[in-house]
Structure formats: structure tokens, C-alpha cells
Symmetry: D2
Subunit: 399 residues, 4 copies
């Protein structure tokens, strides 16, 4: 694993747990973690359960006893690490967004396609696909239960930087993070809705905004939470968006609205998706990730409504391995499921999803959003929209 | 009253009730209702409580014993009736949207401004402003409790024409209705959010869609529900939008998203508005119109959350006249409150809100949305956006 | 109508509205209202829409131009008025609880049975049976959709006297009100659950409590809200229960819990009922009275859940007469529906429900609860429990 | 650890995780697991992460390299194992309910008191105390934010045996399980409400019921889920309760209702507690365990309501160690927190809570409930109710 901050901790919990809960043909060994600061990476290895700590990720790529590289660093280093790992024949799991630029993403997808010819697997870390309620909704859509999708309504709302005194962490700097709420949060809802509908976004019209343009410099620039450098009194410019909103058309003819923001006061992690189709509708909310609301228009009229399904039954994806019905799971389980599917794909020689090409498609939308926003919301087609994603429902493998 | 279909029934219930519940300086007499079909209008008068029935609205305008004209017809006749009534010195209540075109709306606003000089009052029927939870939220915003508004998220979702076999009623014909979901539903959320924030929409980027372009001709074209002319097998073209989505910027710097649709399967009357500000947030849902969710960031951190306020206390707007706390009210009460405020304004010589100018501002946004949608979502400024609406909070008069 | 306080206002709204909304074979005329205070009753008649005001209810009973007496007084006068009215051949609608004592209730039920032989109708005012969601749930239970009922969970929670400074209004005095939360709130959930399940409560084990035993005397003892006689500083004893809880067994073998309280801080009008049966479950909450949650165990396992049905469709009881789907109704509509059914019963010569005998059965449970509470929660059978109520589902007449 | 079924798996996940997430003065080593079946226990050790597997729990007690015994077996073996472990100087964590009989529980509490004198710690496994929302609510109550508690409303609803064909697993046999829903589910809500209020239940009036008295014998009698021995067609008697309901009085004067059932169709794991106090109210639901609803009567009247607090902030108990706000945790985390607190108590020489005496108090209530139910709901005081539990709020140690 490369990187050991928030994402590194979440992935480590998943690597430690996956074979304890799921029956898999391979057992994962947590060989080594890489980080730049020797003291920190050593402490992280000890804490998170990695046998060794190294200070250069190239060491991991060079070792024979490592089969898979899990990339948990900020987006500016994804491309270099992934290309090196794939070239060395290592399977790769790469956190989202795939890269900071469309060019990097294209290079990564091409490298993954090449590596695949040699049996090397690459997976992008859109972990929310593996929330059971999401996986189950994908099954419902794939089975035609929503009919033709007319509306997608997707928001990802947080509020952790609404306070103007929150410091200028790396996620607010374009050169590290690529973009702001758009790439961090927007990427998730773009991938999720393309995955759920089995359709691509064909064009967008977008606005972005940076509400707070200057912030205190942090004492320590790592991670989500950071204490402001109150002593210094120094400030720096925010170079990413605080919020992004966009309209879209889907390849299947539906209308969609998207919003990603870090200024939705009171909303902590509110990824919400609603789909309206000709035969039914569904609603998902990440803050209540064990639940799915499903409306079936084929029910008798007086009995119709949104059914709150508690997605914790053994018949739901991933859940036969966990606790009895109603005993809910949490955020971190999405990573355990992601890694479960990755390990199974590696073991069986299948291609894991989402592929780097799927992630490239997300990157293409992010890029179109930025271009539209820069051009006064001008309609901006997403290139390659004609290419259908490899969206065979994953239902079979997740039971 | 002119017109006696859905809106006519709702207004009649309000006229019958207003003096029974509220102490007002004037008592309303329900003199006469006008409708084209003699049998129908006679039955309607008898049913709805109007003393007389007439077949030409001009009769109402001409009579001396009538002081106020309540216009409940489709949008294509609003302008002619309102201009005549105002010219005759009658106070006017006009259902929304104010008109089918921006030109008509401009003429009506100008006529209202003239009439006002002679003590004649004109009010536009955006009844949802009078839902107590909405009126209370307006008070909270006006008192600065939400701080600077960064985000507005407004949808009005219905599904009554999702079935392609639903017939071609007048609301689906451009010449009668002006537009589809946009004017019918979108007008409400445009007015509501401009009212709640005290800000104007300064520009939009929009998409519209007509999912079902040909429908069976109805046996009887009045009203919302209509049985299809199944015998004939004839169909006709839908000439309005089924759905409209748009992005907007507010005069105060916030970002907004809007969606109006009649294809949101399972959503019956889901007008939902969320505001996120620097000091707090609020959520309103018309299907639970007695409730308001309010998030106050000035509360101690561990106690923060969205508070579900049951807006049924005597300290909330309009409610001291009704039932004890927790005994909820319904949709129709918004009209009773609207007419309560109108009667009080007439009695006291004040200008009721929303004025025709407020309604014109809504019309200006509707027009910009249509132009943007016709131009591939091109950014379209709303003219007159610099003019601030007369949005003094109405809190005082509603207790 | 006799009495013109809270219940009188609610009934008047219903009498004014019923023929404006429903097609009925009879049209109600609001002839006269009776009240002891001449000034007050005159003002009430004018306000509420009654043609005349009288100061003695016996006048109403004596008049030939009055066919029906609507009793809206406190419980201590119900019996005398009802017996006189029935003896005079007047139809009677009597607010709940039927009486303050079991003996009175027995006399009233017997009188109603006698009067019935002469075509005179008597109905008890358990208005919540006429909330559409309740009436629809009754249909579902009657159709076997919940199967065998195993659990009933019923609470009616309010908090309007939680403040010890709230004055000693008549509802807190045993000689006027009969009992406290038990008769006021408990009576509703007893009737509702017996009605919904079609079963009787066969025995109870109960506790009651008076948390605040001494309160300030009110300046004015009428109604729910009263300003304390702060000047005097005088107090008096509370002679009714503040709260009552009891266990029960149903005639069909199920277990039930009941709670009625005026000390549930934050709960304003929280009548909540949950039924669990062998085939399904349902939940109703009066604060969201347009909604019903229904769980159907015959659905495929992964799709099961509680479906939030918005009970506002024309296919739901009473609603074809009102507004389009999703346009919610309020508390007062339950009275309009009650009176609609009463008027229809009178017109068609049918017996309205709930009968005085149904109300007597509620009274029998209230009496058993008080006796159990007085005997340290001793198990107390409800007499006559073997008698099945005349609970044919009312579905047919309410469409 | 002794036992490796459902509870064993949950505890193992907690033991594996506790030092990876929390900074603790001791690091737990997972030495050995005991189980009767050699093949099964070996597989369990491998799967769950225990170094060794043994077939006799006495081996664990006898070993010098084991400091703590975690008892995850059915209730009939708790007493013997715990007494032996404590006598051998091992710290003990014992799953709830503490024992199958009051006598056993008394012996265990006495043994724990003795062991404590030698620095040996004993903790009962009421894991739900460690749900962050519960721990936070305990802090609010302890700080007086709810005032004097008037009402407790506690249910624990499941439905996994509602189907009469569900087989006769050990949990339905008195000799193994002690009781049915009462001991399994009722024990949790008894402990939780005594813990939250800091009060004891002083007496009860109870009913129990076994709806399905004969069930198919299972092919394999372990665990929650079991496939029926369909081949044999044999059945056996259910010897425990399917459901238990009881009224209670609290030592502080409040009224309480309790319900534990496995027949609440559609309810999977619905542990719900509502507290109403003179200053505020709170609601907790285990199916949404990251949320707490809190009503504060000291807020200005129009702003009052139930605030949905997402208990995922770093200022909430246990959560600074986990993910960012809004990234929810699950059922299993309650065990990780329980073991975190146990490890800390062992390391610092403090007494962990709940003690065996706390668990004995739960057992005393369970026993009183059974005696009351056997005596037709007769009022049954709980012995020792005068003894105040050692309920110092645990807020300090959980931050």
C-alpha cells in the first residue's frame, strides 16, 4: 500500500478483515506500506497491521514478494505509481479520482489495457459501488425494475470547510488535488450514476464556485482535519472549487442534475441519488447506507409508495457473510467488499470493476464540467460518450 | 370568481372558511362565479357556495356589488380578465403563473401599478408562501438565522403523466398552458426560493424535455384527471415540456439547482426546497407541509443536527387561529391564509404580496429558462435581476 | 350543536364543508348552537356559521325544525343530553368519550338501541376512524393482508401540561372530565385498535400516575389553553391521571401495549399505532396522518420493507372528493368524513359506526384500566369481551 | 475465547480491530479459542484469527499465557466458565444475559466481587451501551439535559421466528437459553434503560406469550439461522416465550413500558428507546444506530423539535478514532468499543462497566417479569431495587 492517511486506514481495515469474513480462494498478506516520513510510516505500519514500512514506493514495485499495489495517495501521484506498478506486473487498486488530469487518466487506462493482456488486473477505487444497497439497486435496474430512466438526481453534500477559518489543506490546492468538491465528491456521484443506470453522461452544463478564496495556512497539511496555523496569521489562495453544480443528459435520454459541495451546512456525508424510471424509482442516501427506498409502479395503486428496504438480508449482496438482518454495517465495509471482489477477480482471472476505463469515463465528465464552467455553463459534450461502459450487472458475484 | 375547476374549488373552500377562522376587519361575500358552460357553472355555484352563476366573466367585472375578482382560469385568459377587472376598479387575485407570456405579464404588472394609485389591490396566487412552515422559514432567513445563502436546491416532482396513455389535457397544450411542468411547477419553486431568500435569480442554464410526444385525445379536456378517448383512438402532439431542469445564480452569490417534472415516478406533490447558508440550513417538503427541518450551526457541535419542527404552534404564522399543536393542517389551508392576507390588505389599504411585479419576476425567469433550453443550455441572464423584490418579511402580519 | 369550544369549532368546520365536497342525498342546515353564556354563544354562532344561538340545549331538543343533535360538551353532560335527544327522536352525534362513567355509557347505549327501532341514529365521535389512512388500514386488515394479529403497540402522546405551572383547567378535574389522559387520549387508541383489528380487548393490567398533583387555578377554565391565575397565587388539586399505561390481551390472542400521556415532552399529538400480524405489519402516526406504512411479508424477501403509502389517491377512502394526489389534508378532515358518513347513514336508514355500543366497549376498557390501576396493576378482565363488535369493514361506503 | 458462533465472530472482529483503531496501553493477543467440535473450532480459529484452537475451555483457564477469558457460549454454561476463570485469576468478559437463573447470576456477581479484591476484572457484555449515540445520550441525561425522567418506552422487535416452519433451534429451548425473547432481547432494553436513566426498575407487571408452541426439529441446532429437518417431519415443543411485554416503575418515579418479541413482522433489529423528561426527550433506534433524536424544551418555542443528531463527530464518544463525520459505523463497532473499554480498565486497574452486579440487576428484573407473567400480570417488586447501580456516567473515558 502507498499512503497511510484517511484512505490508507480505511483500506487497511479492509485488508485485515476481508479473509476473516469472506471465503476467498486467496488469502491476502499485508506485506508493506510506503510513506515519505520514516517515523510516520513506521508507526502507521505498526498501527494498521503492515509487516514492513518503506519510505519509497518504488521499493514495493521492485519486490518479488508483492503481487498487488494499493494506491492511497493524493491524485497527483496516482499516474506515476500506477504506470510503474502495472509495468512491473503488479495488480493495482487505485483510489479515486483516477488522476488529476484527463491525459494522465488516458495513459493509465491504456496501461491497464496493456497489462490486462498479461493477466495483470487494475481496479479503480469507487468503493460506494460496493455498498450493499447500491449493489442491490444496480441489480434492480439491470432487471428492468425501474424501466426506462427519465431522471437522475445526484448530490454529494458535505460542510467541513464552510467555516472560513478552516485551513488551506492539500485538498484545497489544485496542484495536489486536481479539483475541489468536483473531483473529490463529484467523481463519486458521476461514477455511481453511470454504474447504476448502465448509461453514460453525454454532455454537461456546469457552474462552479469558490465561496472562500483565501484561507489560513495549516500548521500541518495532511488529511481532512487540520489545525490552522493560528500563530503565523499567514493565508494562501484556495485554488479549487468549493462547489460544482451541473446538468447532464444521459446516453439513454434521461435528464440529470448533479451537485457536489463542501458548503452544505449540516450535511456531513450526504451522497444522495434518486432515479426515476418508467416502471419505478429508487433513492439512496449514504448517511443511511443500509437502506434503499424503492417504488414499484406495477404494485396496485392504493398500495404504492416508497418501500424502505433494510438492505441487511442474506439475500442482499455481500451480506450473507456478515451479521443477522437488521444488524447494520458501516462506511468501512464498502472497502472490504471492494477488496473482496478484487481478490476474487485476481484469483479467478477476471477483470475487476470499475476498470481504469470506467474511471477514465468519470474523468472525461469531470473535464467536461470544468470546461463548461469555464465557458459560462456552455453545453459541453463528453467525448467518447458513445462508448458503452462494461456495465454487466455484478449481481452474480456478490451473493 | 372566474373558473371553477381544481383551483376554483380550492379558492372557494378558502373563501367559505376565511371569516370562520380568522378575525378580519372585512367579511367576504361569495357573490358570483363565472364559467362558460351554463349547466356546469350553475352546479358549481350551488356546490361551492356562490350565490349566483354567470356565463361571462365580463358580467362580474361590470357589477357594482362585486369588489374583487378571483381569477382561477387557465393562463391564457389571465391577462384579459385581470386588465379588465383592474380597469374597472376591482381588486384582483390571479392564480399563478401570472400569464402565458412575458409580454402579458409585463402588461399586467403595469396595470396593477396603475390601479394601485387608485387603491386597487392586485395579488398573485403563489399560495405556498402561506404554508406556515414556509412563512416561518422566511422569518428565520430574514432574521439572519441561515446567514449568507450559499446553496438553493429546489425540486417540484409529480408523476401524473408518466403513463404514456394519459390523455392530452389542456395542461399539455402550449396555447392554453403556456408551458408544461416549467410554468405549472417550476413557477412555484422559482417564486418560493426568491421569496425565502429575499434574492433574485440573476441567470440560468436550462434543459427541457418532452418524454412522451404524442398522446391520446381526451374525451373531456378539463382538469387534471381525464379519461382517454379510448374509442376514437385519436392522438395529438404534446406541445409543452414534461420536465425542466436548470442551474441558476442568485443575486446574493449563491448557486441554485431547480427541477420541475411530471415524470418523477412515485412523487405525487414533492415540492422540496433546501437552503444552505453560512449560519444554518433548512429543508421544506410540501408532502409534509406541517414540518420544517432547521439546522443551526451556532448550537454546540455535538448537539447539532436537523431539527424537525412541527410548525403547528400558536407562535407559528397563521396557526393561533386553528387547532392545538400537532393537529395538522392541509394543502387547502394555504389558500385560506392567502385570502386572509388579501382581505386584510384590502381592508387596511396595504399592498398584498406577492404583487404582480413579484409574479413578473417569476415570469422573467421562466422566459429565460425557455430561451436557455432552446439555445442548448446557454447561460441566459434574467433581465431586471438588479431590481430587488419587495421582500420585507411578512412575519408581523401573520401572527 | 351543543357546545362551541375546541370540538364545537372542529365540528362546525365539518358541517359547513361536508356538502361542498361530498355528493350526499341530504344537505345539512346549521340551525342553532347552544351554550350557557349568552354573549359567547351568540358570537360563536356568528363566527362558526350557525343561524341561531340559544342558551339552553333543551330548546334544541324541543324544536321540530331540528333533526340531529351534535353533542360537543365535556363528558359530564353527554348522558343527559343524549338521552333527551334520543327520546325526542333526534339523531345524535356524541363526542368521545361517550360518558364519564360506565353506568352512564350503558344507559346511553341502551337508549340508542331503543331509538334505533324507531329509525333514530346515534353515532359516537371517534373521528380518527375517518382519517383516510386509518380507513384504508382497516380495509387491509379486513382483507387479511396482515394475517393473524400478534402485536398491537398504541400510544397517544402529548405534552401540553408537562409544565407544572400550566393551570388547573376542567380537563384536569375528575368531576368534569371523568379521567385525564386515559379518557381523553386513551379512549382514542382503545377505539382505534379495536376497530382496526376487529377484535376486543379482553383484559388489562394498568398503571396510572399524576406527576403534578397541585396546579395554579386558571383565570378562565374553558378549553385546552388557559392563562394561569397568576395574580391569585391560588392552587388546586389535580384529580385525574397525567398518564396511563396498560398491557392487554386481544380477543384474537394478540398482546397489546397502550400508553396515554400528557407528559411526553416534545410530542404534540403523537397517536401512533403499530400492528404486527402473521402476514404483514402496519404503522400509523397522527402527526403524519396522510401516510401509512405497510409491510407485506408475501413480497419477495429482498424487496420487503415498510412501504410509505401517501394515502391521498382517489382509490383511497374519502379522497376522490378532495385534491389531487399528494395534496395533503389535515386533522379537521376527519370530522368532515365522520359527518359525511353520518349524513349518509341518516339518509339511507343505515346504522352509523361507531355505535354507542362500540363506544360502550371503549368505556368498559377505560373502567377496567382504572380498576386495575387502583389494584396495583392486577389483571382485570373487561366484561362483555366475548361480545364481538359490529365491525364489518366500512370500506364499501367510504370510496 | 469460549464459543465461536455469532457472538464469537462479533467479538473476534472486535479483538482484531481494537488496537488498530484505538491507542491503548495494552495490546491484545488472540491466543486461543475453545469449542467442542475439533474440526469446527480449528476452522473457526483459522478464520477468526485465533492462534490456537482447543476443545475444552478448561485448558484456557489453566494456561499461564492467557490473562482474559471471553465467554461467548449460550447462557447455560456462563456460570461454570466464569466462576472457574475468575477463580484462576483471569479477567472475564461474559456475554449477556449473565446467566440462565437468578441463583447463577448471584453466584457470578459474588465471585466477581471477590476476584476484584485481587485485581481481577469482570465485565458483562451489554454491548449496546457502547454505541456512540447511546453513550452520548447517557452523557446528556447525566448532565440533566432531560430533567426528571417521566416516561421510558423501550421495545426490541425482531421477526426471525414469525414463520411457524422456522425450526426449533437452541434459542427456543428453555434448558439452553433460559428464556426466549425476554432474556435475549428484553435483557438488552432493561440494561440500556437502567444505564441511560441511572435508575433501577422497582417493580413490574408482565405478560408473555408463545404464539407457536410446536416447531420442526432442526437438522443442525447451532446459531440463529437453521435449516429445518424437513426430511424427518419431526417436531418438538417450544419451551420459551416468543414475546414478553411489561409495565414498570422506575426508582425515580417514572413509568415505563417494555416489549421484547421475535414476532414483529418486518422489524429486524428494532431496539428503540424513548425517554421523556421534564426538560427534554430523546429517541434511539438501533437500526439507525448512528443517529440520536434529542428534544430540548429550553429552546425557544417556535424552534423546538426533535433534532436528528448524526452521532459521528469527533466530539462524540469513541468517534475521534474512526472516520470523518457522516461516515457511519455499524453494529460490530459496539463490540470494538466494549473491548476498548475493557482493555483500558484492565490496563489502568479500573472496574469496567457494566459489572456483574449490573448484570445481576438485569437478571433480577428478568426473574420478576417471569414471576409476574406466571401470576397473571400481578405486580411484582424487583428485589434489591433500593440498591443504586454504580452508574457514574462513562463519558470521561470514552472521549
Amino acid at each position: 500500500m502507498v499512503g497511510h492517511a484517511f484512505m490508507g486506514a480505511a483500506h487497511s481495515q479492509a485488508w485485515r478483515t476481508v479473509n476473516r469474513v469472506f471465503d476467498l480462494p486467496l488469502r491476502a498478506r499485508m506485506v508493506a506500506v510506503a510513506g515519505r516520513d520514516p517515523a510516520r510510516v513506521t508507526a502507521a505500519a505498526d498501527r494498521l497491521g503492515w509487516t514492513e514500512a518503506v519510505t519509497d514506493w518504488r521499493e514495493l514495485v521492485a519486490r518479488d514478494d508483492i503481487d498487488l499495489i494499493d494506491i492511497c495517495t493524493p491524485g497527483d501521484s496516482h499516474c506515476e505509481i500506477a504506470l510503474a506498478a502495472l509495468a512491473a506486473g503488479k495488480h493495482v487498486l487505485c483510489e479515486k479520482p483516477l488522476a488529476n488530469t484527463l491525459d494522465e487518466a488516458r495513459a493509465m487506462a491504456a496501461a491497464a489495457d496493456m497489462a490486462r493482456l498479461h493477466g495483470v488486473r487494475a481496479m479503480a477505487g469507487f468503493n460506494y459501488r460496493r455498498v450493499p444497497a447500491v449493489a442491490y439497486l444496480r441489480q434492480l435496474v439491470a432487471a428492468g425494475r425501474l424501466g426506462e430512466i427519465r431522471h437522475v438526481r445526484a448530490v454529494y453534500l458535505q460542510d467541513w470547510i464552510a467555516d472560513p477559518q478552516f485551513p488551506l489543506v492539500w485538498r484545497l490546492q489544485r496542484e495536489r488535488a486536481g479539483s475541489g468538491a468536483l473531483g473529490d465528491l463529484g467523481a463519486h456521484i458521476i461514477d455511481l450514476t453511470q454504474h447504476l443506470t448502465g448509461q453514460l453522461i453525454s454532455g454537461v452544463s456546469a457552474l462552479t464556485e469558490t465561496f472562500v478564496r483565501e484561507r489560513p495556512l495549516p500548521a500541518d497539511a495532511s488529511g481532512l482535519s487540520a489545525s490552522a496555523g493560528a500563530d503565523s496569521g499567514q493565508t494562501g489562495p484556495v485554488t479549487v472549487d468549493d462547489a460544482a453544480v451541473f446538468l447532464a443528459r444521459l446516453s439513454g435520454g434521461g435528464l440529470a442534475t448533479y451537485e457536489a459541495t463542501r458548503f452544505a451546512t449540516g450535511r456531513k456525508n450526504a451522497l444522495r441519488v434518486e432515479l426515476n424510471g418508467s416502471r419505478g424509482s429508487a433513492v439512496f442516501d449514504l448517511e443511511r447506507l443500509n437502506e434503499l427506498e424503492f417504488h414499484d409502479t406495477t404494485a396496485p395503486e392504493p398500495e404504492r409508495g416508497f418501500t424502505r428496504i433494510l438492505v441487511t438480508e442474506p439475500t442482499h449482496p455481500y451480506l450473507s457473510a456478515w451479521w443477522p438482518p437488521g444488524h447494520i454495517i458501516g462506511y468501512e465495509h464498502s472497502f472490504t467488499h471492494e477488496i473482496r471482489d478484487l481478490v476474487e477477480a485476481v484469483a479467478t482471472g477476471a477483470d475487476p470493476e470499475p476498470s481504469f476505463t470506467d474511471a477514465l469515463r468519470v474523468q472525461g465528465v469531470l473535464d467536461a464540467v470544468e470546461r463548461s464552467a469555464a465557458a459560462d455553463a456552455a453545453w459541453t459534450p463528453v467525448p467518447d460518450a458513445a462508448v458503452q461502459p462494461s456495465a454487466t450487472p455484478t449481481g452474480g458475484s456478490t451473493r
